[in-house]
Symmetry: C2
Subunit: 301 residues, 2 copies
DNA sequence: CCATGCGATAAGTGATACTGATGGAGGGTG
DNA sequence: CACCCTCCATCAGTATCACTTATCGCATGG
């Protein structure tokens, strides 16, 4: 079970073609064929049906294991090389846009800069699953992922990662429904989900996928999808709401004015009780800027 | 990062010797030397200091990853070969002695036998960490591990396993202090831990390590270790208690008479609130006898 | 019935991973 | 202080392995 073979097996299964996988990996088709044959011989099991190319039942099982395995392998590699090459002060933080803002990353980074002026820091924005992947693979030391969850639940993203990561809630806020300023419900003190089943909703997978989560929680058949927004910029999302493409959910801000966009306003979501939660993801942290920043990020959730 | 190289690296680190690892693995010393050199060259990092042989900091990091990685690799292998070779009805259950009894494994197996008369079943007794390892490595489909925990906490054993396992509580009972029948406190209605700080205790690592857990929970310096019992047989443990070697903790039995040994009796432990908990460990279960048995084992905890 | 596309197979070659022998550094011993 | 012994590194030689190139077999579709 050479990881090499595993990697090409995954590639073949994804491409559903030996030749395509071969050129993607920079091999000849023959090499891929031999590699798969070798893997099958080693395990004594057919992993792929040919023509059309698709995984057998055994192949499916292997695919389930292969992802986490290769991820963990990458993590080990990154961890080891980092341990040696960099007693230096370099730190990569992967974060979702809302996660970084809600957890107070900028302020925490300023404190870090004060304590360790020589630390090189990179902030890398990505969607929540990608943040988890980056941290799991060791490409980032810390991750801030945000999402919608029931008040006591962890984010689903944490469970999905291989298992060698620890997650800690570093921020949670109530949710607000983002509405156009002139929307009839814009002045309401609070809204329950039932009031909004018939409304048009904008789903934003990169910003917590509010619509998808709503449907999971409420189980309702309503919540018509008005528009899917695949960007990760909140201002653009707010502009879409302002223009009437639909409603969406954003973390509420206590006290301060609604910050997301001038044409929109927020009304607290009162039921079901859902929160916007940010979790800090990391593997075991050796002392250094990463550990400092992790400690600086919110006194536990 | 060939798993092969990883395995010999682990062996060298454990044996603290290239030659010893070589003979353990069936290689020549030269081969091991070359393998380690190859690994270090690939990662660009020194993993071991020689003379004496000990891991560098980078090596330590790699060691932390290597175990789970190799475990997961074994799991993948087992899972794949099982998926193909055995649509048949064969099932291995790893269990601790108290875990099997407390979770009602015998009865559940009888029900399984009724539903699937042709199923071959193997029950494999082991300590809790070994149970977890067996399930994680795919050598057993199901695992029943028992241990002491706070009422809401999961068992620590579950957290230690690589992460691709799911754990479900299938039984929990209050704890009783096992005392010799003629012990002055034998007639008490309940005992708090404070009453017993000065007593002699028997620790039984294979039976939940009560003494170790007690000290973690109570933090007290008391709880003198009278005797360490490394066996896994409860009757023997009870005999040791009866002979006055010390007290220990066993799951209480509600209503029914104290079943563990004629010379002993049990008094409920009232504080701190600790429970004896049994968890069912398993990876993703395809339909089959394993899934049936998992379902038959207690309607959730 | 033939062209085309895709995977399997065969043959050849360079790289690789062992074994066995030798070298050199540390640590103990007379 | 010389000696030896242990232990790891290194070297040379060899068998195996993993790739490439070339070819084959077999579906599918015109």
């Amino acid at each position: 079970m050479d990881p090499h073979l595993l990697r090409t097996f995954v590639a073949v299964a994804e491409h559903r073609s030996f030749s395509a996988a071969a050129s993607a990996l920079g091999y000849t088709q023959s090499a891929v064929s031999q590699q798969i044959a070798a893997l099958e011989a080693e395990l004594g099991v057919a992993l792929l049906r040919r023509r059309p190319v698709e995984p057998t039942q055994a192949g499916e099982r292997l695919l389930e294991h292969a992802g986490p395995l290769l991820l963990r392998l990458a993590a080990a590699r990154a961890d080891v090389t980092r341990a040696a090459a960099a007693p230096a002060a370099r730190l990569t933080v992967a974060a979702t846009a809302l996660g970084a803002a809600s957890a107070g990353l900028p302020a925490a980074l300023m404190r870090l800069r004060a304590a360790r002026p020589r630390a090189e820091v990179e902030v890398r924005l990505a969607g929540a699953p990608e943040v988890a992947r980056l941290v799991a693979a060791g490409e980032a030391e810390l991750g801030l992922a945000d999402g919608l969850a029931a008040p006591t639940d962890p984010l689903p993203v944490a469970a999905a990662t291989a298992g060698h990561l620890t997650a800690r809630g570093v921020a949670h806020r109530d949710l607000a429904v983002a509405l156009p300023r002139e929307h009839p419900l814009a002045g309401a003190a609070g809204l329950a989900l039932g009031d909004l089943v018939d409304a048009l909703w904008i789903d934003a997978p990169a910003l917590g996928a509010p619509l998808t989560r709503l449907r999971e929680v409420a189980g309702a058949d309503g919540f018509r999808p008005g528009l899917a927004y695949t960007g990760s910029d909140v201002a653009t999302l707010a502009a879409l709401v302002a223009a009437g493409h639909g409603l969406t959910l954003l973390p509420a801000t206590a006290g301060t004015p609604w910050p997301y966009g001038p044409g929109t306003t927020g009304v607290r979501l009162t039921a079901p009780r859902l929160v916007h939660r940010v979790e800090l993801l990391h593997a075991t942290l050796p002392p250094g800027p990463a550990a400092d920043l992790a400690a600086a990020l919110a006194p536990a959730g």
